[in-house]
Amino acid sequence: MMSLFSPLLFVSVLCMNSFSAVQGKKWKGEGTTQNLESIVIGRCYEYIRLVNPAVGEKNCSQIWEAFKNAFINKDPCNILPEDYELFINLTFHTIPPNKSLFWENNQLLVTSLAARGRRYMSVGDTLFGFLADFLIWCGQADSPGLDYESCPTMAECENNAVDSFWRIASVTYAKHSSGVVQVLLNGSAEGGAYPQPGFFADYEIPNFQKDKISQVVIWVVDDIEGPDRDSCGTNSVKTLETRLKTLGFDVTCTDNYKSVMFLLCLDYPDHSKCAFASSAPAAQRGPISSDRGGSWNKLMFVSFAGFLFRFALVY
């Protein structure tokens, strides 16, 4: 009896291990965002009532249904951009000319720069992009439910629900961009400021409309403390400029565009790259403190030292 028991036990433990591996997460990526439906519908009304009422009345329940039907009850590795066509049709609105802002490797910067569509309208500031930004979703074959446990990554399968969505969103966004279009690239990114493959290279540029776009403005900005890997006229940016010119577009390129530099400086206000040239009036504006517990003297010393340091930097 005992001699049979141990191998049985051993085999059953092995089976349990492999069983739990199967019971564990199906995919390597994070699962569907919780409360996805409420978030998407809420964002839809938020957009049409508050963010951009100019787009007019939209049926947000219908939009949610179209979004959901693109990927539920299907193999999560077989979702195609075309599956979202109805969703795109329902959420489509014109993009104001001269406001398009394309980007690679600097999403948070773009969000700050675009100022919720008031300065620029990035894809995340359009209705179709706004609904899905920063969310994750996927379904499963033979079940109408969303998979909250895990979702496939790009590495596991290209035709996953999220990546296919952004493909058609990018195509649509590029097709309807007009006037002067801007593209913000990261000059410190590994693999180059203009990544290939990439959304901009593969889905956006090929859909630029020659008769609608008057100029492409490229901004290449390095991280404040990052290396200067790419800049205008070099490496991947040169490739980009050549490609656009060959396609017949009027192209300009600027390194370290000032507006974006200021945004980067927010995290490094005392960095030398972020020092203001106009120091004379600034010196008068040293901190004023109330006289409490002897900190006044310390503060006077600190601000005087700071003034001297800034003075030394300028000269």
Partner: protein, 308 residues
């Protein structure tokens, strides 16, 4: 006798005709009156009160619930135990079917309790007359939180709501302005939420004021000046840092040495807070320069050729 019978019948006929005519006239009058009355009210729900400010935001429920889930799920998963539907119900119950001039803090008590959450020390950022700039700053720099970056403020920012005693209980057409009545749903909400936000602050607190407004950077009539500074807890809050921001290109109406700032400093000192005031706090000024990059106040040293 045949003549008498003939005249009686004629009289009967006349009476009948007159009766019908009167009935018809009454019917016509009734129809005319009805159409006049309904025409006057067809744009507004019957008997709803009329006010001067914009009405309740359409689809308020979807917006509030969506924002609640968005805040928790996407940004603050540590608040995962909050029930967004319950939170919406408690907001709705605070004002639905009530006269919008009779709202009290007690109406909002359940909502405040459900939606409040702790604020980390040294992160509270108050503001007055710097709405746009302060929120651009907190979006770019997660180190500070304004009231509108807490769950309560995030849900309520830029939306409006008010009720009415008649069905459906919510007034989408108009809501009272402050000068029509003080105890309106919006004002009571923000006063209460501001009070709680101040009470929850600890450590070093910051306030961004506007040094380019004519009426003065610090005003006693503002929510900051009338509620927030008086609800900071001296046992929890150690210092108040004032960031006095002037518009790029001015006007430079007030600086840290200005009168209203001195008044603010006096009030705070009396409550035993240490105060530091800084003109044009650098990180925020950098943000101002994003959209004024070529202004002389925004010249960076790296642009000058003198710098190695």
């Amino acid at each position: 006798m045949p003549l008498q019978q003939g005249s009686a019948r004629a009289r009967q006929r006349t009476v009948l005709l007159v009766g019908i005519a009167v009935l018809l006239a009454a019917l016509v009058l009734a129809v005319v009156l009805a159409s006049l009355l309904t025409h006057g009210r067809h744009e507004v729900s019957p008997q709803m009160l009329k006010w001067k400010d914009r009405g309740t935001t359409k689809n308020l429920q979807e917006v509030i619930v969506g924002r609640c889930y968005n805040y928790i799920t996407a940004q603050h998963p540590e608040l995962g135990d909050k029930d967004c539907l319950k939170i919406w119900e408690s907001l709705k119950d605070a004002f639905i079917y009530k006269n919008p001039c009779n709202i009290t803090p007690e109406d909002y008590q359940p909502l405040m309790e459900l939606a409040s959450h702790p604020i980390p020390c040294n992160k509270s950022l108050f503001w007055s007359k710097t709405n746009d700039l302060v929120h651009r700053y907190t979006k770019s720099n997660q180190n500070f939180l304004t009231l509108e970056d807490t769950l309560l403020g995030y849900m309520a920012d830029r939306v409006s709501w008010c009720g009415d005693p008649s069905a459906p209980g919510i007034n989408y057409e108009s809501c009272p302005k402050r000068n029509e009545c003080e105890s309106n749903p919006g004002s009571v909400f923000w006063k209460m939420a501001s009070k709680m936000f101040a009470e929850a602050a600890c450590g070093v607190v910051q306030v961004m004021l506007n040094g380019s407004v004519e009426a003065g950077a610090f005003r006693s009539s503002s929510i900051f000046g009338s509620i927030e500074i008086f609800n900071l807890d001296p046992d929890k809050v150690t210092e108040v840092h004032i960031w006095l921001m002037q518009n790029i290109g001015g006007p430079q109406s007030e600086s840290c040495s200005g009168q209203s700032i001195q008044r603010l400093i006096n009030i705070l000192e009396e409550r035993n807070f240490k105060i530091i005031c800084e003109d044009n706090y650098r990180p925020v000024q950098l943000l101002q320069c994003v959209h004024n990059p070529d202004h002389t106040d925004c010249r960076l040293c790296t642009n000058s050729s003198a710098i190695p």
